[in-house]
Subunit: 86 residues, 2 copies
């Protein structure tokens, strides 16, 4: 996989796993309910994302850093709606 | 953060972001419905997880590799239930 740049793979991966939370955020926003979304899932996920961010910073792995900053915002947004619409 | 090992941070992060999908999997399994779970979210997420796995392998970053193998199984399980209970 010589021709394949690891940073490029990382950025595409980051774009996908980050954008994965956009439909969930939009669906929760549109339905004004989040019954199907697990509260504990998002609390654990957000803690994990903060630690991935720390890991990325320690290794200077930019795809990891950028992906986790954006994912952090999206997951906090979904969690906030889950709490508001409870 | 000299005393802090990046692999350790990575493994804790991996454990958290991976276990985050367990409550969602259990909730979907228990309720026998997955209306609140976004189908497009999981399709994009699974593609992204496969690419993160590739990224981890290219960098020999074991926390990234292990986390994404387990997340892959859990997200495929949730997606499968979403399709079955449609």
């Amino acid at each position: 996989m010589n021709w394949l740049n690891s940073d490029l793979v990382g950025y595409v991966a980051a774009t996908l796993t980050t954008s994965a939370f956009i439909p969930q955020a939009l669906m929760t926003w549109k339905n004004k309910r989040a019954e199907g979304v697990s509260l504990s899932m998002y609390v654990i996920l957000i803690t994990g994302v903060i630690l991935w961010l720390t890991y990325g910073i320690m290794l200077s792995a930019w795809p990891v850093i950028i992906a986790n900053i954006i994912t952090l915002f999206l997951t906090i947004f979904i969690l906030a709606m889950k709490i508001v619409y409870k």
